[in-house]
């Protein structure tokens, strides 16, 4: 960041290259859907413009992801407005199935896929604050401090919302289990 501020544009290219995969993952998982590439590009451009506000010594990754996350949520809202919500949901599910489908044992692979799909479905159905915290902590594998930065919440809030989100997920999935077994 210091090199970028000193006028070295190449240094920013390096930052973009290094953080592009996690930025894309953030965009996709927070609902940017087919707009993910645009969201990532916009995120990096906005981050560059905002570099003046970057605090020396802070971590670049969560700071960037916060900008990308805001972009992704805006894109998602726009998509919902255009009535594309179903399309976006379908995209993720297909991705997931594709991956689990190439396991060695097809029967087991179907069972696992089904279970994963159900878990993903349950995560997506959570109220937004809960969904965000589970997505950041687990699906993006960010730590508590990074999650706090990305979502702009105090760490205590991250902790308590994650706790409540997991309790809720357990409840949802537990209820589903009984129905399946019956």
């Amino acid at each position: 960041v210091a090199r970028v501020r000193a006028g070295e544009t190449d240094a920013y290219a390096e930052l973009v290259r290094r953080h592009a995969p996690i930025a894309r993952r953030t965009a996709v998982l927070l609902g940017a859907g087919p707009d993910a590439d645009d969201v990532v590009q916009e995120g990096f451009v906005k981050a560059y413009r905002a570099l003046g506000r970057f605090r020396d010594g802070a971590a670049f990754r969560p700071w960037l992801l916060r900008i990308v996350a805001n972009e992704a949520r805006n894109a998602h809202r726009m998509a919902v407005r255009r009535g594309n919500r179903e399309e976006t949901a379908a995209l993720l599910a297909t991705d997931l199935l594709y991956r689990a489908g190439d396991a060695a044992d097809p029967v087991r692979s179907v069972l696992v896929t089904d279970r994963r799909a159900r878990l993903l479905g349950a995560v997506r159905e959570l109220p937004e604050p809960f969904r965000l915290v589970v997505t950041c902590r687990y699906l993006l594998d960010l730590d508590e401090a990074e999650t706090a930065t990305v979502l702009g919440w105090p760490r205590g809030t991250v902790k308590s919302r994650l706790h409540r989100a997991l309790a809720r997920l357990r409840e949802e999935l537990g209820a589903g289990e009984v129905v399946t077994d019956a």
């Binding site: 970028v4 501020r5 000193a6 544009t9 920013y12 290219a13 973009v16 290259r17 592009a20 995969p21 894309r24 993952r25 965009a27 996709v28 998982l29 993910a36 590439d37 990532v40 590009q41 990096f44 451009v45 560059y48 413009r49 905002a50 570099l51 003046g52 506000r53 605090r55 020396d56 949520r73 809202r77 726009m78 407005r81 993720l92 991705d95 997931l96 594709y98 991956r99 689990a100 696992v112 279970r115 994963r116 878990l119 993903l120 995560v123 109220p127 937004e128 604050p129 589970v134 687990y138 699906l139 993006l140 702009g152 919440w153 105090p154 809030t157 409540r164 997991l166 997920l169 357990r170």
Partner: protein, 254 residues
């Protein structure tokens, strides 16, 4: 199935490992460099500006506890309009100002005004500049209205046991806001994880423009109301209902 014994924790991690988000676009680096090429090198903002931002961020993130600490003090003060706006934003409520005044609680509880039924929800959706949120708990609205500037969506449900229920929503990042004047307690509540305010009794409500002057409509007396903010949209649910019912409706919003 061996997964059944695994904890939710492990399953979520496994799920994370299987989710594929795809690769970043090939031309990303070039596209970004091209776009920032013509821009000035970002300087460092002043120490003071950074401090202000940090304090603001800190307050925004903790508005509830800050409020608990300052509440008694603030409520007694008659704040000038610009200051009031700032305070409302600090507390995380874009688009809502609450003013407490001495006086008696109105003895009647009016029914909320009914929205006309000239529009369908789909037509409203196309007119609005934000994505409307609709509570599943109430089913399709019987009346739908969009303000002339296309910034406020109002929906009403009539004919239920509770009489008319009204939901107004707008993009909370706009310049103007609701102003509520109350003579009684206001409760800070949690609406499915989002911050909310509960006005248990009748109170005055008005719209303010960016400079704090009242909007076209005169203030009107409103029924009990739950106001909350959800993903940038500010929602206002009004009717002769209690907090439990209001929360149930509010958390069913999709």
């Amino acid at each position: 199935m061996p997964e059944a014994t695994n904890s939710l924790d492990a399953e979520l991690r496994a799920l994370a490992g299987e989710l594929r988000a795809g690769q970043p676009a090939d031309g990303l680096v070039d596209a970004v460099l091209h776009r920032i090429g013509a821009e000035p090198v970002p300087g460092r903002s002043s120490r003071f500006a950074q401090t202000v931002r940090r304090v603001r961020g800190w307050l925004l993130a903790r508005w509830r506890s800050v409020l608990a600490a300052l509440g008694v003090l603030l409520i007694g003060l008659a704040l000038a309009p610009p200051v009031r706006a700032t305070v409302a934003e600090w507390f995380g409520f874009d688009g809502v100002i609450v003013r407490r005044e001495p006086g008696s609680v109105p003895s009647t509880t009016p029914a909320p005004p009914v929205a006309s039924s000239n529009l369908t929800l789909d037509q409203a959706r196309r007119l609005l500049r934000f994505a409307p949120l609709v509570p599943a708990a109430l089913g399709p609205p019987s009346g739908v209205e969009v303000s002339a500037d296309r910034r406020v969506l109002s929906m009403t449900w009539t004919g239920g046991p509770e009489g008319t229920i009204r939901l107004d929503e707008f993009d909370g990042r706009l310049d103007w806001r609701f102003a509520k004047t109350v003579h009684a307690d206001v409760r800070f509540v949690d609406v499915g994880g989002w911050p909310g305010l509960w006005f248990p009794v009748a109170h005055d409500v008005a719209w303010l423009d960016a400079d704090g002057t009242p909007h076209t409509q005169p203030p009107r007396l409103a029924a009990p109301t739950l106001v909350w903010e959800q993903s940038g949209t500010t929602l206002r649910l009004e009717g002769r209902i209690d907090l439990a019912r209001a929360t149930a409706i509010a958390t069913s919003v999709r």
